[in-house]
């Protein structure tokens, strides 16, 4: 196990180097001149030149890559170009809001979609099953944007059940007042694709021989579904949850923009619109690391869930 972990972590190094190169190439080669962006429209050529000196933009590219690599290793991302706030501080202050919204979304999504999908899979071929499949197809064809626009209009603006948007400093107030509407909308939208996906996982298992054996020896249907089928379908479900997990840190950009939640997603979007490269670079590289770690953790979890899995 230890040897496996060490090897997997070692294998992350070339991927991470690739991510760093990709981000570096993208912004250095194709992005605009940072000095011009920073200086603004009224900057004199001397000022632009001074900024270039400051950022080390006059150095050859390998020196610049070295500066970038040093930032990554020392976790010192410098300051945001737009607000002069340090990137580390920016992360520390924006992440709590994102986590407050995203954790309930992810939990509710899984807790609702899994039993629902199991039920639909059990009723396969029936009218209920077909109706639900058609309903989810239609529901999926409407843009997420429309759900959010209409949901905010109906539930907050018209009916007044929730505040239209806002955020406070207290976690409890946030959870009780500001979080419910975005979470409800996100779960409503997320549940259709999740149900469809989990349904296929369960269907794959329900057709297996061990289910027939279990029925033949007289087990009750709930026991077959909840103990046998569920346990066997855990691996693909885990994989899918692991894919969604890194998203928790950026959150749903759209939700944060729409409901004015001061989270990381909105900050990243602002950074993109302002060409605030230090922030984008930092987020991209952090998320790449988180994604790789989550993938590794999932693989280890496979072993715990299913003893047949051999980690190689």
């Amino acid at each position: 196990m230890t040897a496996y972990l060490i090897r997997r972590i070692w294998q992350m190094v070339p991927t991470l180097i690739g991510v760093v190169l990709l981000v570096f190439l993208l912004f250095k080669q194709f992005g605009g001149d940072p000095a011009e962006i920073l200086g603004g429209l009224n900057a004199t050529p001397e000022q632009v030149q001074q900024i270039r000196e400051q950022l080390g933009l006059n150095e050859p590219w390998w020196v610049q890559l070295g500066i970038f690599a040093k930032q990554i290793v020392t976790f010192d991302w410098g300051r945001s170009w737009a607000t002069n706030e340090s990137v580390a501080n920016l992360f520390a202050t924006r992440l709590p809001a994102t986590l407050t919204v995203m954790t309930p979304i992810l939990l509710l999504d899984a807790l609702l979609a899994i039993p629902f999908a199991l039920l639909v899979a059990y009723l396969r071929g029936s009218l209920t099953d077909r109706t639900i499949m058609i309903a989810t197809t239609v529901a999926l064809s409407v843009s997420f944007l429309v759900y959010v626009i209409v949901g905010q209009y109906v539930f907050a603006f018209r009916l007044g059940w929730f505040p239209v948007q806002g955020w406070s400093d207290s976690l409890l107030t946030n959870l009780a007042v500001f979080v419910p509407l975005p979470v409800m909308l996100a779960v409503m939208v997320g549940i259709a694709p999740q149900t469809r996906l989990y349904r296929t996982f369960f269907l794959d298992e329900i057709g297996q021989d061990y289910v027939r054996t279990a029925r033949a020896k007289g087990l009750t249907e709930p026991r077959i579904l909840l103990t046998h089928v569920m346990r066997n379908a855990t691996i693909p479900i885990l994989t899918n949850l692991a894919v969604a997990l890194p998203g928790i840190f950026v959150g749903s950009f759209l939700i944060e923009v729409f409901f004015s939640i001061p989270g990381l997603g909105r900050e990243v979007l602002l950074a993109v619109n302002r060409s605030d490269y230090p922030v984008i670079q930092a987020v991209t590289i952090y998320l790449a690391v988180i994604t790789m770690v989550v993938n590794l953790a999932t693989d280890v979890l496979y072993k715990l869930v299913d003893p047949r899995v051999v980690l190689r």
């Binding site: 070339p14 991927t15 991470l16 690739g18 991510v19 190169l21 990709l22 981000v23 993208l26 912004f27 194709f30 992005g31 605009g32 197809t137 239609v138 999926l140 064809s141 409407v142 843009s143 997420f144 944007l145 429309v146 626009i149 209409v150 209009y153 603006f157 890194p246 998203g247 950026v250 950009f253 759209l254 923009v257 990243v268 979007l269 950074a271 993109v272 619109n273 060409s275 490269y277 984008i280 987020v283 991209t284 998320l287 790449a288 994604t291 790789m292």
Partner: protein
């Protein structure tokens, strides 16, 4: 292959039963799926609409302000004129400013010149079939023109992504070794970054416009299809027919593109259509966030982003028009994709 066999059979007299080609068999299975067939007809309708709109025969005048601002749909009748509370007329003596106003001597001349010009107030209709937007542009024309842009972006981006994914996947799966490792590394790098962030990073450097959106989505969306095509090529590269081709001297390029590729093209087709739906939805989000098509163009995404502020004022028609167009198209496309996958999926073959 089958053509050669029947030619031989014809020569010996007894005609061998002609084996059904993959595509013909798939089409036969597809036709038996009524839902898929109806969805295909709807798609054909959209195709016609897009073609007519691209030629400028339909919705070419979407930018003309035909109606009054926020003209309601025809069935609702014209909007009630709003009673504006008139501001109280200013009281007090009018000050003669002609002594300090430097333009005062020319006012008369300008009034005379203006009187010579003929101006016509264009007639603005009170209602439009599907309503008007805040400038009085016809929402129906916008939705059709928007369909053209949105579908074009989705299809082109999906083609770019499929092309990249197929070529790289074919190379990685066919050659393996060093090339395979290098491409695997590239794949790992691209999948290590969450796709929405990758899209943002590309958008930050690419700017706005149709070409940008197509490039961004295409360059970030190729990983899934790469994975599948690579697996198929690994499987096919060692099959007998490929080795036979090698034995008669077919080059690597010929084996990849002439021998193996047609045998995995059904995977490409299904992935392509899954990508189209995903990219059309992505374009909507990108346009809303201000990273999509440029402001002088209309797409379903730009319509929806305008609709947000209109809805608060009670003008719901633009939202409904864009949503309906998009929902019908995407539903039809998804149903065709499902039917196509069922018809082409090798695993289901022979189970009828």
């Amino acid at each position: 292959m089958s053509a050669v066999l029947t030619a031989d059979g014809g020569a010996t007299g007894a005609k061998a039963p002609r084996s059904e080609s993959t595509w013909l068999g798939a089409w036969r299975r597809f036709r038996s799926n009524r839902v898929g067939l109806w969805a295909l007809i709807v798609l054909a309708g959209f195709g016609l609409l897009v073609a007519l709109s691209a030629l400028g025969w339909v919705a070419g005048d979407w930018q003309t302000e035909k109606g009054v601002a926020n003209a309601p749909p025809t069935f609702m009748g014209p909007a009630q004129p709003q009673v504006a509370s008139a501001a109280a007329a200013a009281s007090g003596p009018l000050l003669d400013l002609s002594s300090v106003d430097p333009l005062a001597p020319r006012y008369r001349e300008w009034t005379e010149r203006a009187a010579k010009l003929e101006t016509t107030e264009p007639h603005k209709v009170d209602t439009l079939p599907f309503g008007g937007d805040r400038l009085g542009r016809d929402v129906l024309a916008k939705a059709i023109k928007g369909a053209q842009i949105s579908i074009l972006v989705g299809v082109l981006a999906a083609l770019v992504a499929t092309l990249i994914g197929t070529v790289l996947g074919a190379l990685a799966g066919f050659f393996g070794g060093k090339i395979g490792d290098a491409l695997e590394w590239l794949y790992n790098v691209f999948t290590a970054i969450p796709s929405i962030l990758l899209i943002f990073a590309f958008a930050a450097v690419a700017g706005r416009g149709v070409q940008s959106v197509v490039l961004i989505l295409g360059l970030t969306g190729w990983t899934g299809i790469y994975r599948l095509i690579r697996a198929e090529f690994i499987k096919h590269a060692v099959r007998d027919y490929v080795r036979a081709a090698e034995a008669i001297g077919a080059s690597a390029g010929a084996r990849i593109f002439r021998h193996i590729l047609p045998n995995v093209s059904h995977v490409m087709l299904v992935q392509l259509s899954i990508l189209v739906v995903g990219f059309i939805k992505a374009e909507v989000i990108l346009s809303y966030l201000g990273l999509g098509v440029s402001v002088d163009q209309v797409s379903w995404g730009t319509m929806l982003s305008e609709a947000q502020s209109e809805l608060i004022l009670g003008y719901w028609w633009q939202l409904v028009a864009a949503t309906t167009f998009m929902a019908v198209f995407v539903t039809a496309f998804s149903l065709v994709t499902d039917a196509m996958r069922d018809a082409l999926d090798p695993k289901l073959r022979g189970l009828e």
